[in-house]
Symmetry: C2
Subunit: 418 residues, 2 copies
């Protein structure tokens, strides 16, 4: 993608109405546009990153046998009234309508997915069953000051699972947990899992996936020897430095973290409220056990910004960067340099490398400042020196490490595989 073609531009000044670092940087770099508090449009660079996050989440959900759908966001009121959510869920947006029908817009999809699955999975032979979608959710939040980390409209992957027993839910939860941890690892983040209360969704236990980041709203205690982790809010008298209450093999470490995923053991609440039973092997009808698994995709994007940014701008992990290479041409009007940069651009594109090509007629300092702000992992500079030495100057955004590479093949290898 040529940078002159990109309709967004960077800006130096910090937006005055944003306190969250993620929103400040994403707006300055032209990744998102703020429509109002808690509502952002994704602009071309932001959409590229978000779609990479979505693709990683999709691969991991497909990998554990979940089936992708795209459920309606405009909801009838009837199932919400049956579950008690119509009056009980305070963040549920309701719509005014010209007809007598009442509608809500989706803040979660239990009221839609349960009847769908209930229509098809009538026998124990069809269970367990896992269904998911990736899309927009809407919540009537009273306050929204965390940029894309907590929005009134936001992107979410929500998965729902249906089981014939608590044991089977537990079995699948262990599989889903590993898939979730792979999602975070693949996006460059480090996550721990805590147990917490289920909030308005459930009276049962829930699990929170906490990413270690200084921007987090939570404080956790975790053990490095086993998978023990707890939110300090529910930790009672436990303190940092004490022995792990689970394995005893290590002392507890305290860390600030941000919730980027959760699992709710919903029990039989929704199948009961929505009259979904399956026929068991003994011929009787039972309500399935249900689980709900969320990952905020836009939230994950915001957490990645907060976690990796430095004083110069954003720093994207390669897996979710809007491009792998930021190619910067410093021709100053020199036709040979321009031709060399154009050639490298074409070669990298041909090799499947995603390139943002800054071929704008601007000073080197401005181009470098934009490049630092946008945060693409590998910067490759083509200038007069490139013609003299036959080497391309490369700089890693994350470490500042600079090195020379001789050709497109070497750059491709670095950008795609190293």
């Amino acid at each position: 993608m040529k940078q002159s073609h990109l309709f967004t531009k960077t800006r130096r000044e910090v937006p005055s109405d944003e306190v969250a670092k993620n929103a400040q940087l994403l707006i300055r770099a032209g990744f998102v546009h703020k429509e109002m508090a808690g509502v952002y449009s994704m602009l071309p660079l932001g959409l590229r990153t978000l779609r990479k996050i979505e693709a990683i989440v999709r691969e991991e959900m497909d990998g554990i046998g979940a089936q992708e759908t795209r459920m309606a966001t405009l909801h009838p009121s009837e199932p919400w009234k049956m579950t008690g959510g119509w009056d009980g869920v305070d963040v549920l947006f309701k719509l005014q309508s010209r007809t007598e029908k009442e509608y809500a817009i989706g803040q979660s999809e239990e009221e839609i997915v349960t009847p769908i699955v209930g229509e098809y999975a009538r026998s124990y032979k069809e269970l367990p069953l896992m269904v998911y979608q990736i899309g927009q959710k809407y919540r009537d939040e009273l306050r929204a000051k965390s940029g894309i980390m907590r929005g009134r409209e936001f992107g979410m992957k929500d998965m729902y699972s249906f089981h014939t027993s608590q044991e089977d839910f537990d079995r699948f939860y262990a599989i889903a947990k590993e898939a979730y941890l792979r999602v975070y690892t693949r996006t460059g983040l480090v996550a721990k899992v805590t147990e917490a209360s289920g909030g308005s969704f459930s009276e049962k236990i829930s699990y929170e996936f906490m990413v270690l980041t200084d921007a987090g709203e939570d404080t956790i205690l975790y053990c490095s020897a086993c998978d023990y982790c707890t939110n300090v809010e529910v930790a009672g008298d436990l303190k940092e430095g004490e022995n792990c209450p689970k394995c005893g093999g290590s002392k507890l470490t305290k860390a600030v973290a941000s919730e980027v995923g959760n699992v709710f053991d919903l029990g039989q609440r929704y199948p009961k409220a929505l009259n979904y039973t399956y026929k068991a092997e003994d011929g009787s009808d039972y309500y399935p056990i249900m689980g709900c698994y969320g990952i905020g995709t836009t939230r994950l994007m915001g957490v990645a910004v907060e976690t990796f940014a430095d004083e110069k701008g954003m720093v994207w992990p390669k897996s979710i960067a809007p491009a792998q290479v930021h190619l910067i041409e410093l021709s100053g009007g020199d036709a040979a340099v321009k031709a060399k940069a154009d050639e490298l651009y074409a070669d990298l594109m041909k090799a499947g490398v995603e390139v943002l090509y800054d071929e704008r007629d601007m000073r080197a300092g401005e181009k470098f400042a934009d490049s630092d702000l946008i945060g693409i992992p590998l910067r490759v500079v083509v200038g007069k020196k490139t013609i003299e030495t036959g080497q391309f100057e490369c700089v890693r955004r994350q470490t500042g490490e600079s090195f020379l590479l001789p050709d497109a093949a070497a750059i491709t290898k670095d950008a795609l595989y190293v």
Copy 2:
């Protein structure tokens, strides 16, 4: 994808509350789930087809230089009040909120895209500019009886263009028109372009893309010698069989058609209402000329069902089918047949062919009926005869033509290229 893994099932009975053929077939085949009139969830097979349509639309929009975004669907009321749409657009859904803020959900995005583009394209040098998105739209329709062809929630690609002159709009419109026609051709449809009045969006001229289909709501007159086409509603005294008023070279043909895309020449209405001006070469400030270009993606899916279905079920063009091959195993418990089918499935997957593999323990008649209903272009049957002859029996869904192919390579070639 193994059919036993797919959580949806086909059903024989026609849903009693659907009059539209597209909804009847899509529900019976398990492609969509009806939530209420005009609102459908996309189930795994339906989502596969919809994403293929989206990918074709995306390629064609990218190809004419438009930049993809994902704009907010939760809209603040302010821009809607500035344009008059808050009170003037009757299908606009408004939300009840816990705060004092007023919101709408997007039925079109002029109120969002104009300020976004206005923030970045401040000079004539940045224009023309084309921005698009593919996503959900919401309209408070009084009636919704056409299945996924006219929904209260539906999928749409909406593009917006901004120009410094009417001539430049006209130039780009001609390019966009060709791209639209390619979208329809690639999805197997035949489209004509009519001129019509702009409806509530505009006082200016608009263009409608009409696909020839017996299920259409409109009647058009078109010339086969030139691109003349008109809706009979605005055709005055013109009649079928008369000479084309544009080229005179052929007689007019009458046809029933369905609108699957439109273009509105919005003039300066939205930039004026939303205070977006650019600096021209002469240093003065002007309002850009704006165009809006829509393709209903779910509507296109519905039209494809209506156009190609026969008495046995749906018939998908290869480009938008949920899979290219429907592999049917008729082992009846014979291990050699099962092994042969498994092997072919693995080989086709490896070659990049999308396969729905019916390995369920069911009678041949049921499997064939399901296959006819689902409508995948090429059916490949593996039975006892396959072991004897070493040949795979293939049947084209569209024509019923049957033929033998010797191996996975020949089937791959047929499925991917022929």
